[in-house]
Amino acid sequence: MLEVKSVSKDWKEFRLREISFDVSEGEHFIILGPSGAGKTVLLEIIAGIIEPDAGRILLNGEDITHWPPERRGLTYIPQNYALFPHMSVFDNIAFGLRLRRVPRAEIERKVKEIAEVLGIAHLLHRKPKTLSGGESQRVAIARALVVEPELLLMDEPFANLDVQTRSKLLGEMKRWRRELGFTALHVTHSFEEAVSLGDRVGVMLDGRLVQTGSVRDVFSRPASEEVARFLGFENIIEGTAEGRVLRSNGVEIELPAEVRGRVRVGLRPEDIILSLGPIRTSARNEFKALVESVEELGPLVRVHLRIGGLHLRAFITRSSMLEMGITKGREVYVSFKASALHVF
């Protein structure tokens, strides 16, 4: 129903490059990418707020590339929800219906109905600034869905919510879609949202849509090194394979299968085990490594390691760092299973 064809745009510091994908009727399509990838710009182009430099946008077969937003028949929820602060919740939700000259009684009925479904019927007389984050999000969704749009565009809809609210609303979103039957395109940096809501997912990196497919497909078979990195393979080791041995920067690594020639393998930082002494077992790759730096990520610590000429990153918990006394310059033992290596 939505087709995006080779859309390109230079906008401020963002550069969208030849973006193509399509969303089918009734689907929940998720565009997943780090912040700065240009996800919001893409959404605003589809909404009609920004004009693309090149490319076309089709909705139900009609070319809407140059239509103004009000004619497109799709609604948009920006990241801050953009509730109208000078109107009550009722008036916010009724806004689109009034523009469509729906009779007053009908407006009343429709607003009440959707407020019932979204659990905000008791908030209709309130002003937006008195609402919590979760309530604001429900109001924004109600306002966008009450006009029965062809397509609902959402920009990081769960990013500004606390864990509990977020988790609750993620669950309810599935129910709303069953009950109200809308089509959604939703951009996010959260893997959790992609896993729990996405029928299909597109990975967007640095202004390009690099892989599209079902959620399970994309996560288990990254199409390129950069997708792999984004999905968590922070270590990409390049070298020459001979059978089950990979030589890279003077280090010999045991592979899970027989390969020959130049290959690249991926290794997740959490699959690397650090220890102060050797713990040699048959199935493991084990090396002596030097700690180059450590980087605190809340309760987790990313340890930057050097084995000869090879650089690796490993995750350990903060308490392990404290117990093992891991700091720059320390020598540690690094081990990982051959089966933790993914050959691309």
Binding site: P69, E70, T75, A82, P85, R100, A144, V147
Partner: protein, 236 residues
């Protein structure tokens, strides 16, 4: 902290310099209440006050009518020459007031000489920057995303302006309108040249001073001060 006390002492000179004349004139007039009452029964004074209020209000309305759209365009749109327009808007602030009068007469000659139009023309020239800048700042403070969302919900740009941008910028625009009004009613130099008649209160102050001396011009001054301060307090 001696440095701050020293600075405060220096600075309080200006504070006193501004406050003292206000207090003195109000205090002196309070002890000469008869004169104030007489002024309030002087048909000439009432007529002049009426003229001042009328022209200043008309000026503020005209400035809003044209200044609000201009402010919106300046807040929302990039265009070549924008910085020139921005600069031009601020020019009236630096031109001597008598020169403003001459400029307007040179340009519009008899069309504005000694008429309400002339008073409003002079007032508009010096006060329009306040309306334009206030509207621009007001619209800049409104998240453009709100208008975008209104449009995806089906509103045209004009409709989005009237139902979202304008109501939200209203407080800023209203306080800009008050400043415009206050600047308009404070103008003397340009009006003296363009339109000595019909007589405005601020010109009448000068005329009474020249013809009858300080004591006669004081009551009208006090009335104007009270009016201006009232408006100023409303503004804050």
């Amino acid at each position: 902290d001696y440095t701050l006390y020293f600075f405060a002492a220096l600075g309080s000179f200006l504070v006193v310099y501004i406050a003292l004349p206000l207090l003195v004139i109000l205090a002196k007039q309070a002890s000469d209440f008869d004169m104030l009452l007489r002024a309030l029964h002087d048909a000439y004074v009432i007529e002049a006050l009426r003229n001042s209020l009328l022209t200043a209000t008309a000026t503020a309305l005209i400035a809003l009518l044209f200044g609000v759209p201009l402010g919106y365009v300046l807040a929302r749109k990039e265009f070549p020459g924008k910085s020139l327009v921005q600069a031009l808007v601020d020019v009236p602030i630096v031109i001597p007031h008598s020169v403003v009068g001459i400029m307007l007469l040179v340009t519009f000659s008899n069309a504005i000489l000694d008429s309400y139009t002339g008073i409003i023309a002079a007032m508009l020239f010096v006060s329009a920057p306040f309306a334009i800048n206030a509207a621009r700042d007001g619209f800049l403070a409104v998240d453009e995303g709100l208008e975008h969302v209104a449009r995806t919900l089906g509103a045209s740009r004009l409709r989005a302006f009237f139902s979202v941008a304008l109501p939200m910028a209203f407080p800023a625009i209203a306080s800009g309108a008050i400043m415009t009004w206050a600047r308009a009613i404070s103008e003397v130099g340009a009006i003296l040249i363009v339109a000595y008649y019909p007589k405005t209160a601020q010109v009448l102050v000068m005329e009474y001073f020249n013809n009858y001396g300080l004591r006669s011009s004081r009551p009208i001054s006090v009335i104007l001060i009270v009016m201006s301060l009232t408006v100023f307090v409303i503004l804050r």
